[in-house]
């Protein structure tokens, strides 16, 4: 074979978790000394459930293989690289390929439904190599802003695009920038009457459990975030930037560090950026230390200053008094990553996509009981049903859909009858959930929504900073009530008590954590009241999840006495000798379900 090929391997942390490292090592070993093939280590294209992923690129065509283990890798090298034959049974995606393999590739329809702005480079480029970013229009937006546009032009472009904050609240980004630009900095001078001593922050705390798009963008395409921030810095007149990233994301932190260094070397950060006398800006990374509330803007500022991350009342708003009391503008990772694209392609190219007052695209992290977990970027306005069924592949094991949890601890559960809701800020808010950062956890019939509500309250209760009594104590009370209900000790009055506590906590809390903490309870009460009633009145958990309300029983008429379950039971709750029917002692049983899984003839059931 004559023309050069590239083999890509996805090495974002999801890929590594799925076992990509040994595959990469083996790939390198197999290709030693070959100059017709080049290996490229890329991030994540979003098909996390299919990882490890290997791509073969040749003459503008790409074939992507999924679930690649060492054996499959050997076949890809043998058959595809050496003989030019496609390994059909592992092919999941093709690009630029106009033959039969295109039709066979399972992921093509899923990709065709997406519009990739934020994820434009993810999984395609080597995140540690700035040249690959540059080759895909990287830093063109910044160059255009600095060389051809005034600060006002840039702000207007972002305003016109309709971009809203992707971190949760959906506040128009251009407006936020304008506040920060108008705020008085410390060092006003003739050239820059608004002063330059301002801060920009990238909020990469990603505290929402179930959301992982920020991690993926930082790992797979860190320059897009850095470029976005540099454009923002030019627009608002900031000289200092901070990326506040959670310490649980070591690879993201590593990749940002490399990208920052390269950006400085190429003159995209530092003094007199792109030769502009009046534009100096640099970014450093601050590692978070594991507190959900630190994602809240004022808490984040306190944390950057090295204090406990406690929210404070606003005003003053960060735009006027943020880090070290300097004007500070905070945006989310995904928000920043949109900015270079908007500058390069123009506001109207961005606002073509969208629905109502929500423009552009949204990245969703798809997880839970779905067939195809991973990341997807879709135009705003696509229905939840399309996202869950067409993109995420529908429910695992073809079980029945129960609810989709949106917006994490601040959000709620959306039931089946609302699946045609379009994904835009207003429509989702109308259901009682929120868009939040875009985590979607799909639940099937085997999930108990009362248990899920309890789960979220226990989360916020642990994460409350403790400043506001309603948040600190009120959520504790709500949690106790829910625990009572999941133990079968609830009363119907509890439901009214939950609603009234919810209202008080919402109204009496200082920050978004407390204000939204009751949402998971309120939405489940609204859409799944029956399930609460079943727990309270019938003392039953319909999904068979809540341990105190379920019992494991052996169908003694079927049991052949193989003793396997008795051997596995961690608490020795199962009695009965060889070839004699077994029996589970309900008192001792801890409801781990191991016996049910072990029984070779499925004669153990949950009642």
């Amino acid at each position: 074979m004559s023309s050069k090929m590239t083999v890509t391997i996805g090495l974002a942390s999801c890929g590594i978790a799925a076992g990509a490292l040994p595959v990469a090592q083996e790939l390198e070993r197999l290709l030693v000394g070959r100059d017709d093939v080049e290996i490229k280590k890329v991030g994540c294209i979003g098909c996390c459930y299919m990882e490890p992923l290997i791509g073969v690129i040749r003459e503008g065509k790409t074939w992507t293989y999924g679930r690649v283990d060492l054996k499959t890798l050997h076949r890809i090298v043998e058959e595809h690289l050496n003989e030019g034959r496609i390994v059909e049974d592992h092919l999941i995606l093709t690009e630029g390929v106009e033959d039969e393999s295109r039709r066979r590739a399972a992921e093509n329809p899923r990709m065709e439904k997406q519009v990739r702005i934020v994820l434009r480079n993810s999984g395609l480029i080597d995140p540690k190599n700035i040249h690959e970013y540059l080759a895909r229009d990287g830093y063109r937006g910044l160059t255009k802003a600095v060389r051809e546009m005034t600060r006002d032009d840039v702000i207007k472009e972002v305003l016109d695009s309709g971009l809203r904050g992707r971190g949760g609240a959906g506040f128009p980004t251009g407006m936020k920038w304008r506040f920060a630009r108008d705020a008085k900095g410390d060092l006003p001078n003739a050239k820059n009457p608004n002063g330059t001593d301002k801060y920009l922050v990238c909020n990469a705390d990603e505290g929402d459990p179930g959301a992982f798009m920020d991690r993926s963008v930082l790992e797979s395409d860190p320059h897009s975030v850095i470029e976005g921030m540099a454009i923002g810095a030019y627009a608002v007149g900031a000289s200092h930037g901070v990326i506040y990233c959670r310490a649980e994301y070591p690879m993201a932190i590593e990749h940002i560090g490399i990208a920052l260094k390269q950006a400085r070397e190429h003159g995209f950060l530092g003094e007199k950026i792109l030769g502009d006398e009046n534009f100096s800006f640099d970014i450093y990374v601050k590692e978070g230390a594991g507190a959900f509330v630190c994602g809240e803007e004022t808490a984040l500022i306190a944390s950057i200053e090295g204090q406990r991350g406690m929210p404070r009342p606003r005003p003053p708003f960060p735009a006027n008094s943020g880090i070290w009391k300097k004007p500070t503008n905070i945006n989310n990772v995904e928000t920043w990553a949109n900015v270079p694209w908007i500058l390069t392609h123009g506001a109207s190219a961005f606002s073509v996509y969208g629905h109502g007052r929500s423009k552009g695209t949204k990245v969703f992290a798809l997880a839970g009981k779905i067939k195809k977990g991973g990341l997807a970027e879709v135009p705003m306005g696509m229905s939840l049903r399309e996202v869950i069924y067409d993109i995420a592949g529908g429910i695992e094991n073809d079980k029945k859909f129960k609810a989709v949890q949106l917006g994490g601890p601040s959000g709620g559960c959306v039931p089946e009858e609302l699946l045609d809701t379009p994904v835009d800020y207003e429509s989702i808010n109308a259901t009682g959930a929120i868009m939040g950062s875009g985590g979607m956890v799909v639940m099937d019939e085997d999930t108990c929504v009362v248990d899920v509500a309890r789960f979220f309250l226990s989360f916020v209760q642990k994460e409350s900073c403790g400043k506001c009594p309603f948040c600190r104590i009120g959520t504790r009370r709500m949690l106790e009530i829910l625990e009572r209900i999941t133990r079968g000790e609830g009363a119907l009055e509890d439901l009214d008590l939950l609603s009234s506590l919810a209202e008080q906590i919402r109204d009496g809390s200082l920050c978004g954590l407390g204000q939204t903490a009751p949402n998971p309870v309120l939405t489940t009460l609204k859409y799944f009241r029956d399930e609460y009633v079943a727990h309270i009145v019938d003392k039953k958990c319909p999904a068979k999840v809540c341990a105190p309300l379920i019992h494991y029983v052996v169908d003694e008429s079927k049991c052949v006495g193989c003793t396997r379950c008795a051997k596995d039971c961690p608490v020795k709750a199962i009695s009965g000798g060889l070839k004699k029917p077994h029996h589970i002692d309900d008192e001792t049983c801890v409801r781990c379900g191991l016996c049910k899984k072990t029984c070779p003839i499925s004669c153990i059931a949950v009642a």
Binding site: G210, F212, C592
Partner: protein
């Protein structure tokens, strides 16, 4: 708020001289700088394996930051630990996706087998169990991280197996 208590350490007390030797370079890194509490504590933890009481007192004295303030910060964040850790730190994700996919069962089984609860270390100092909010690998839920290795698609049995294998390697 992270529910951690600064208790008496089970580790042997460290002498002034050893503290100075091990923490001197770290302290110098932060002398005269603003807002250093979190990275300072993180460095202490990296050096000592945990946030040792004497170490905090030493660094606080050197940098003129009240030790109480440093402990105030340390107890606020989930990242800081106040006891020596096991050789393997098992961080079990208890986030939403993992919860829906059954991580509570994994937690119960780990606690039962290791005979410790969340936040505790086994007597032989092999394993520390920590439940965390989300490891960002939700599409492979349930997930746990043992030191730096992520294991996905867990079942209670698989989790036990992984730790058993580590123990047997000894």
């Amino acid at each position: 708020m992270a529910a951690t208590v600064v208790g008496d350490s089970v580790a042997p007390a460290l002498g002034e001289r050893e503290l100075a030797a091990r923490l001197g370079p770290i302290v110098e890194l932060y002398r005269g700088k603003q807002g250093v509490a979190i990275p300072l504590l993180a460095d202490i933890q990296k050096e000592m394996g945990y946030v040792a009481r004497e170490a905090v007192e030493y660094a606080g004295k050197e940098l003129s930051i009240p030790a109480a303030e440093l402990f105030g910060v340390a107890t606020f964040y989930a990242m800081f630990r106040f006891q020596p850790q096991g050789k393997y730190v098992v961080r079990l994700c208890r986030g939403t996706a993992c919860h829906v996919q059954g991580s509570a069962r994994v937690q119960e089984q780990l606690e039962r087998t290791l005979e410790i609860h969340d936040g505790e270390t086994t007597k032989d100092l092999m394993f520390t169990l920590q439940c965390v909010a989300c490891l960002g690998c939700c599409s492979l839920a349930p997930v746990m991280m043992v030191n730096d290795d992520v294991h996905g698609r867990l079942t209670p049995e698989k989790a036990i197996q992984i730790l058993g294998d580590l123990r047997n390697e000894q």
